[in-house]
């Protein structure tokens, strides 16, 4: 009997701690990618912007304050051990952690009703927090807070292409039109194939999986993330556009890119791109 029963209070605490760390710091691998970009960036204004971003993260860490005022919507990547026992609704416990984080950090209240625009005041409501759940071996529970700001979500896009279209050209052209508004340099999660909704979810999962591989802080994560040849070619093509940090010109338009694929209907070609701003915030708490 190896089943481990997780207590509700542990989940509330883990959700709150993960959110606090995500809002007030950046993962080391994200900072490294910005530092590497400074070394190769040829435009002085772009270099200054990248340096200012790093300085901003340091100020946030020192003061334990959110690095961006858009503290985002609460998205959680949950990875759950198959031997784990839960005797309470997981979503309610995570929501309680979000409410506590909103008061304590504090977070800006961002969650509103889509029609009345009335603000719940605590960053929760129907559908929020959004949870993406995976299962893994063992009896631990990994909670990754992935707060997502509106600037990058608003510029994300989905196309139901004709199978005769070139999906990579569609992606490059759309990124060129939209990147400036999404706080570049960007991290790009790409969903290729599937259905209308699966493509969008794959795009979000691409960002989560990129992050999970790069941070390696939950059981089963690989240690390190690097783009494969196809991803690298697309990343380089996007960086040749010259859009640069904040859309003001430069060699650094995207810092990372991952593609997730699914088989699609012979008559369909769904393509989705989920933008993430340079502030690729996340933090993981593991309950063992």
């Amino acid at each position: 009997m190896t089943d481990r029963e997780v207590q509700r209070g542990e989940v509330v605490q883990a959700a709150m701690s993960a959110l606090q760390r995500a809002e007030t710091s950046l993962p080391a691998w994200v900072l490294q990618r910005i530092e590497q970009a400074i070394e190769v960036e040829s435009r002085p204004v772009a270099r200054h912007h990248l340096q200012f971003m790093l300085d901003n993260v340091r100020l946030a860490e020192e003061g334990l304050i959110p690095l961006c005022q858009d503290t985002g919507l609460p998205i959680f990547h949950v990875r759950m051990g198959r031997e784990l026992k839960l005797n309470f609704p997981l979503g309610e416990a995570v929501a309680e952690g979000v409410q506590a984080a909103t008061r304590r950090i504090p977070l800006r209240p961002n969650a509103v009703h889509p029609l009345t625009r009335k603000n719940s005041g605590d960053n929760t409501g129907p559908g929020m927090p959004d949870m993406i759940i995976d299962y893994m071996d063992g009896c631990s529970l990994a909670l990754t807070a992935f707060p997502k700001g509106a600037g990058s979500e608003n510029m994300s896009f989905l196309g139901m292409l004709n199978p005769a279209d070139d999906p990579l050209e569609f992606i490059v052209k759309s990124v060129a039109e939209r990147a400036a508004n999404a706080c570049p340099p960007l991290f790009l999660g790409i969903g290729l194939g599937g259905t209308f909704d699966l493509a969008a979810r794959l795009a979000k999962r691409a960002l989560l999986n990129m992050n999970a591989a790069a941070t390696g802080c939950a059981p089963g994560d690989s240690s390190g993330f690097s783009e494969d040849n196809e991803e690298l070619a697309l990343l380089q093509r996007i960086n040749r556009l010259g859009i640069g940090p904040m859309g003001l010109g430069g060699d650094t338009t995207a810092l990372g890119l991952k593609i997730e694929r699914a088989y699609c209907h012979t008559a369909s070609l769904p393509v989705a791109v989920n933008f993430q701003c340079w502030a690729n915030r996340s933090a993981t708490e593991v309950i063992r």
Partner: protein, 177 residues
Amino acid sequence: MKEHHLRAPLSLEDVLALSAGDIVFLSGTVFTARDKAHALMRREGCPVSLEGAALYHCGPLIREGRVLSAGPTTSGRLDRYTDEILGLGVRAVIGKGGLPAAPFLGRAVYLAYPGGCGAAAARQLNVLGVHLKELGMAESLWQFEAVEMGPMIVAVDAHGGDLYRDVRESAQKTMAL
């Protein structure tokens, strides 16, 4: 590329002296406004005078009268109000992502503050007052005292210069190759 240290309210001469690509550090009064404040101002008028004002597209995070995090929001959402806001006398719009250049010709500039840098911006801003408080923390019209707010890039000047357009055109040329 010149560096300017300016104080708001701004005069027409102040903004005519700026060229796209210049760096600005701004002190003095800065008003924030985003989606709901703009919509309300269109319906009911502005509760403060915006003559010479610097208008910051920002929904700040504030606790007990202290600015905790206050970077720019995406200006594109507010494009539909640009003409009337500049008509009220605003001389500088501050934000990220840019706005079309035409309404700025001969009267105002667009200043780009580095997006996502809310913690850094908060150290340059103090709360002087708040209007339209009923709209909530992010949407209220906050009146800030800025101390050397920057570095900001003059992204759209009053003479037709537009860095975003230049970058977009250059990207289009690259894609056509």
